[in-house]
């Protein structure tokens, strides 16, 4: 936001520099308007005038009420740190990965007074590199590529900007100025499996994956191992929304609901999802099945603490959210921003797991408070290395 602010102020100053020659501006407008005057007949000339004035007025006004302007834009020598977040396909509002990254980014911008920019790629491919480069050229200090797909672009762009910090989520890249922010999904999913196994009444649980490919297999395998560790006889149903390379499965509520309904109907009473926005459909299914059969079924969330995230957006679903396997992308991004502010940023891979606290099982709602001791004992065994949850299919 502050970059935008800066450019706005810059434009405004340019105008002031010209003595805010409104007349001159109007002549520019005139040319523009003459071009499409035909189409403005209906609007009438008066509204054009108003529009011009509005814009002229608005430039300084926006400057004043812009958010979090702790860095004074009028004093350019106090150049604030810049953070740039390039989201993955799906973009903002996916209730998952991208929203999580954005939350961390937003917090960093607010807390550290950074100039923030976030971009969304238009369709993958070369565009990722172009956007990273765009951020780097604009003088940002920290540039985050949100998602493993950014690895090639990082390798391509980061070496050209050695003084800029880069970070990539769920992936690693070769250049020394790129931090690879990895997460041990299997550990958290193992605990989700433990919780499901302890809570199931029907000895039947489900797993809903977004896209069938190795990253999600980490969740799947960890979950299976966790369930089996408690009771090897529990039946586990596995379902995926789509198969790679179709990544639509991360954002398909209808399909999520369909799969979840099928699993509940086949006897599952708890389903764990690793499917981004698709998971919302699972919670809807849980509500529907619970209400129609009278016996309560549950869903376990992922990435966010969905008791609050989904629960805030759709309060009627909150009571069906047993727990969440929280993956703190937001914390990792916040930490990268903090390190950049403090000058302590380091490249290379960093793995968040149960031990670092970047991965954990949430107790929000209190539905699994009664089994906290058992979960904790598994957690300790994982942290001590006694149990190593598998992260790939055998």
């Amino acid at each position: 936001m502050s970059t935008i602010l800066f450019i706005k102020v810059f434009l405004y100053l340019q105008l002031v520099g010209q003595g805010v020659k409104v007349t001159r501006m109007k002549s520019k407008w005139l040319i523009l308007f003459m071009v499409f005057s035909l189409f403005l007949v209906a609007c009438g000339g008066g509204s054009d005038e108003a529009a011009v004035e509005e814009v002229v007025d608005e430039e300084p006004a926006e400057t004043l009420d812009a958010p979090a302007t702790t860095a004074a834009p009028a004093e350019p020598e106090e150049d604030p740190m810049g953070i740039c977040l390039v989201l993955d396909i799906g973009g903002l509002g996916d209730l998952s990965f991208n929203d999580l990254a954005y939350a961390g980014y937003e917090k960093a911008v607010a807390d550290f007074g950074m100039e923030g920019t976030f971009l969304e790629p238009e369709g993958g491919g070369e565009n990722r590199g172009e956007l990273l480069e765009l951020c780097a050229e604009a003088g940002n200090d920290l540039i985050i590529g949100n998602g493993f797909l950014f690895d090639a672009s990082m390798n391509e762009v980061a070496p050209n900007y050695p003084d800029t910090n880069f970070a990539i989520t769920d992936g690693v890249a070769e250049p020394g100025n790129v931090r690879g922010m990895l997460f041990n999904h299997a550990e958290g999913s193992f605990l989700a499996g433990v919780a499901a196994a302890l809570k199931t009444q029907t000895n039947n649980v489900g797993f809903l994956g977004g896209v069938d490919f190795p990253l999600i297999h980490e969740f799947e395998q960890g979950f299976i191992a966790g369930v089996k560790a408690v009771n090897p006889d529990i039946e586990i149903q596995i379902g995926y929304a789509t198969v790679a390379p179709d990544f639509g499965g991360f954002n398909d509520q209808v399909k999520g609901k369909e799969i979840a309904l099928a699993q509940y109907e086949a006897g599952a009473d708890i389903i764990y999802h690793a499917a981004g926005g698709t998971g919302t459909g699972m919670f809807e299914a849980a509500k529907e099945v619970s209400e129609s059969t009278g016996s309560k079924v549950w869903g376990i969330g992922v990435d966010f603490d969905q008791y609050y995230q989904v629960g805030n957006a759709l309060p009627e679903l909150q009571e069906y959210i047993l727990s969440s396997m929280v993956k703190s992308v937001d914390v990792s991004i916040y930490n990268a921003a903090k390190a950049t502010m403090e000058g302590t940023f380091t490249g290379g891979a960093s793995v968040d797991n149960l031990a670092t606290g970047g991965i954990y099982l949430s107790y929000s709602g209190g539905y699994i408070d009664d089994i906290k001791d058992q979960i904790d004992s598994y957690k300790e065994k994982i942290m001590s290395g006694e149990i190593v949850p598998p992260s790939a299919r055998p």
Binding site: M1, T3, I4, I7, K8, L11, K28, W29, L32, V35, F36, L38, F39, L40, C43, A51, E54, V55, E58, E59, E62, T117, F118, L119, E120, E122, G123, G124, G125, E126, R128, E130, L131, E133, L134, A138, F148, L149, D151, A152, D170, G171, V172, D212, F213, P214, L215, T242, V243, A244, P245, D246, F247
Partner: protein, 359 residues
């Protein structure tokens, strides 16, 4: 056609462009942005060296995709399946091309042939269905797009997959060095910029070939008269069924080249990040360029320019969706004005003809 009619024809896209800028300005005003500054920023960003290279690189597959669509359009055949055809072609070509290594020109030629053959075959299915089963090509090509996506997903994760470290993302083996298209930077003396895709040369050749095929050959003549008047075409001895299959295969053949720019010059393998949507974008470019090789080149460059230059907008707090709106405006308006101008030209000719009969 006479020069003055040609000039009149060109005015349609120019009018469309102007009006679309006007409408976009209006929308910018409504959301409280300064249109003049917005376009200025876009333009200044768009004409930077790196941007120009990016624009040309983007326009290559757009252009070829438009040509693939246009071949069908010329005979009134709507090949909506360019999307699936080029993805299939690219995948198979990427896989087979990575299996061996021969000298570069032959290697690239081989990859091109594989891609063209695969895409043509895929398109031929739609041709066959239309001719033998009477299924409209719009329906069948859309369905084939879905089937293609599924097939690609399946084969990419099974037979074509190369195991790798990064979450074992489905992808084919990388093309050997001999299968990569060398960039043109040396030729244009712009070695400080990013790679200018060597496939540009192929795109230009494709454009020339398309022109020759459609406007100079008897096959092209048959395509054009079938497109204008299928009944007269039939009475002139054209076998419409045969022509549908030929046109579909030709269109699919061009479609096979769409993905090769990105494949040979940038990705060097088929990954899940391989660009999609080019087949649909081509429809718009073909419409804008009126199926003419030069018009479509300008259209592809224009859309590529808008896409590239819109990137800067997010940094300036202007929603970059304004660019998509502009593209939509341009297409919508240009269609209207092409019709207006077509009528104008016919009217003028009628006048000329009746003048002649008065004499």
């Amino acid at each position: 056609m006479k020069m003055r009619f040609r000039l009149v024809s060109v005015s349609a896209p120019i009018i469309a462009l102007t009006i679309s800028f006007g409408l976009s300005s209006l929308i910018l005003l409504i959301i409280g942005k300064d249109p003049y500054e917005t376009f200025k920023i876009m333009f200044e960003y768009g004409i930077r060296g790196k941007s120009i290279v990016s624009i040309i690189n983007r326009s290559i597959p757009l252009y070829i995709s438009a040509i693939a669509v246009a071949v069908g359009f010329k005979m009134g055949l709507f090949n909506i399946g360019v999307e699936g055809q080029y993805l299939m072609g690219s995948l198979v070509a990427a896989y087979i091309g990575a299996q061996f290594s021969i000298i570069t020109p032959l290697h690239i030629l081989f990859i091109i042939i594989v891609a063209v053959a695969t895409s043509s075959l895929w398109a031929a299915i739609a041709g066959y269905l239309k001719v033998e089963k009477g299924i409209h090509e719009v329906i069948s090509t859309i369905m084939l797009n879905y089937i293609g996506t599924g097939l690609i997903a399946y084969s990419l994760t099974t037979i074509f997959d190369e195991p790798n470290s990064n979450y074992d993302l489905p992808r084919t083996k990388e093309l050997p060095e001999t299968g990569k298209m060398p960039p043109l930077n040396k030729f244009f003396n712009i070695e400080d910029l990013q790679d200018l895709h060597g496939f540009l040369v192929i795109a230009v050749l494709v454009g020339i070939f398309y022109y020759w095929l459609v406007w100079k050959t008897t096959l092209g003549f048959d395509l054009r008269i079938t497109g204008s008047n299928p009944i007269a075409a039939k009475f002139s001895g054209i076998n419409p069924n045969k022509l549908v299959v030929i046109a579909m295969i030709t269109s699919g053949g061009f479609a096979g080249l769409v993905g090769l720019g990105p494949l040979l010059s940038y990705f060097h393998r088929y990954t899940i990040d391989f660009p999609t949507g080019l087949g649909f974008a081509g429809i718009g470019v073909a419409l804008l360029g009126r199926n003419h090789p030069f018009g479509m080149a300008v259209g592809a460059l224009l859309f590529a320019f808008l896409q590239r230059s819109a990137q800067i907008l997010d940094l300036n707090d202007v929603p970059k969706e304004i660019e998509q709106m502009m593209q939509a405006f341009i297409l919508l308006i240009v269609v209207v004005f092409y019709e207006v101008i077509r009528r104008f030209i016919v009217k003028q000719q009628v006048k000329d003809a009746s003048k002649r009969s008065d004499e």
